[in-house]
Amino acid sequence: MNTPGTFNDASDHYLQFKAVQKSYDQVTLVVKDFNLDVSQGEFLTLLGPSGSGKTTVLMMMAGFESVTSGDILLDKHPITRTAPYRRNIGMVFQNYALFPHMSIAENLAYPLKVRKKPKAEIESQVARFLALIELEAFGNRTPGQLSGGQRQRVALARALIFNPSLVLMDEPLGALDKKLREQMQLEILRLHKKLGFTVIYVTHDQTEALTMSDRIAVFNDGVVQQCASPDVLYEQPSNAFVADFIGENNFLPGVVEHVSDDIADIKVSTGEVIRATRVDCGDSGSDKVTVAIRPEKLFILPTDHEYDSAITVKLTDRLYVGDFLRYFFELPDGTEIVVKYLNDHAAPRIAVGDEVQLVFRARDSFAFSPM
């Protein structure tokens, strides 16, 4: 339904964070300046290292933590003035938080019961959602009698059954093993596609974020570093943190020689001058920069690929990883560079200690101010 990037420009401002700050101790800000615009029906992932404040942001949305300053608007209304239990926000907890003294059916019925829905409606909704998560036969069991994946599905259904305006998921798959996690990712996407709810999904697993999300907000140091669709995030990172955090990257230190429009000429430690796309670096000569180039965008001369720049490096190691090869190079100043090649006939045959030239295009290399 939603192709990546659909939500980039045409946001309908369904959920808005405006300069949200949070401090637990009135001294340090855990969330410094949080701005985000989410569309209705969007699957947005908050991705950041552990301790970056992701849970804190969810807790503020759910109303379990107060907002120190700033505003959270849901459908143009500030939700900070609404009590948590009146916000109509579904939440999936990492530890499932199913009520152990209630059966699965009772767990699912609970949000409808507190909303005083008629009995018949509750029963039909519970049956519908049990079918949706393929646990029809488990309505009378207690959570303790289910496996981890089954519990996670019940938690998901319980957070969706009352038709919430927004669903928050805090690392919901963190406790599952890899295989089950991948199954559940598909399960969540299937339900999202079918029911069209708006999701704020929290994870520190970038693979999970990249496969599931319409957009990802990379969160670090209390601010959103970049919010974009997975492909944009990977191919056009807007600062060095994002370039480093998403996927694998090589970083070459250097200084600016000259800039023209969006291209910067940068002198690296070998003395060579390379051309890179200018992102957030300075423009005066001698400004320190770091150039990010992905391992699969670097080629060893001779090559058929087009290129704009070359650097001279020495091979220190070669790693055989089955379907591809990893070459480890070193610059004279000790900077390490990894190059990734498919393990086919084109893979160059070079020996440790050989000096070779690595080449790349300006549009595949990005100049950032150093982290």
Partner: protein, 288 residues
């Protein structure tokens, strides 16, 4: 044969030590239990003595009787004492359980200031010598005309029972997963509704065992009663105390036997609860 079960490196002294340990354990058990057990047959004594008669030792049915049990039922003092004990015990338990549970919940919150100080204060009735508490209560309650009244005794016993409730409920709460409370709120239940639908059922075993401790505390408390109770508020322990001094006959042994029976029932109930809560906890673990 028996030696075979000892580790091969055991010397004579190891084995001697092992026997000494077993012997002392049995002795401790013997001295703890015997005085209690010996009361039971003596309470069926047909004679007004506190010792075994010749007939009892020869298991002569004639030497046994239920006359002391009958004595309880026919004696208004005893009936009043039994009634008072249950009346005071039940109300003190209700108050102690409600207040103790609420206190435990408040004290388990992260935002609670002066947690340790408040906890120490609430637990102090368990630690401070009872005679000091009783004397203090006597002077304090007299000022409010609470001495010599049921209300005074109920409040006093509730204060003595609160620490037990706080301890058992706090222990249960430490196993309580806070996100269950948040889950209740996120599903649309008000904090009060969440409390009754989610928190109470899960901490119920702790609340009930705390209540039982509180009840037993009130039921066998005598020091505070000696200070605070008027003639109308004699309880079972108080009546036994005066029974020992005034009318020396085995009626108090019959009462004691009944009390032992009640205690055993309570212990059994606690054990059942413990098993249930363990099952519940196992369940909770899997939801973590």
């Amino acid at each position: 044969m028996a030696r075979a079960s000892y580790p091969a490196y055991y010397t004579f002294w190891h084995i001697l030590g092992e026997y000494a340990l077993k012997l002392s354990a049995w002795l401790v058990l013997f001295f703890l239990i015997l005085p209690i057990l010996v009361i039971i047959p003596l309470s069926f004594n047909a004679e007004p003595f506190f010792s075994f008669t010749q007939g009892m030792l020869q298991l002569d049915p004639e030497a046994y009787s239920l006359r002391w049990y009958q004595g309880i039922v026919e004696n208004d003092n005893w009936l009043l004492a039994i009634k008072n004990s249950f009346f005071i015990g039940i109300f003190a338990t209700l108050i102690a359980t409600t207040l103790g549970t609420l206190a435990a919940i408040g004290l388990s919150s992260d935002d609670m200031p002066f947690k340790r100080a408040i906890m120490a204060l609430l637990l102090s009735p368990m630690i401070v010598p009872l005679i000091i508490i009783a004397a203090g209560m006597f002077f304090f309650y007299t000022k409010f005309s609470l001495a010599g009244s049921y209300l005074g005794l109920i409040i006093a016993h509730a204060a003595l029972g609160v620490p037990f409730v706080i301890i058992t409920v706090t222990a249960t709460l430490s196993n309580f997963n806070r996100s269950l409370y948040y889950a209740g709120l996120s599903l649309g239940a008000s904090p009060i509704r969440t409390f009754f639908d989610v928190v109470v059922p899960l901490i119920r075993p702790g609340v009930i065992s705390g209540a039982m401790f509180a009840f037993v505390t009130s039921f066998d408390e005598v020091v505070v009663v000696l200070f605070l109770a008027g003639p109308g508020q004699r309880t079972i322990p108080r009546q036994m105390f005066s029974g020992l001094r005034e009318q020396i006959n085995p009626t108090i042994l019959a009462v004691a036997t009944l009390l032992i029976l009640v205690s055993v029932l309570f212990l059994l109930a606690l054990e059942l609860l413990r098993r249930r809560s363990e099952k519940m906890r196992g369940l909770d673990d899997t939801t973590r």
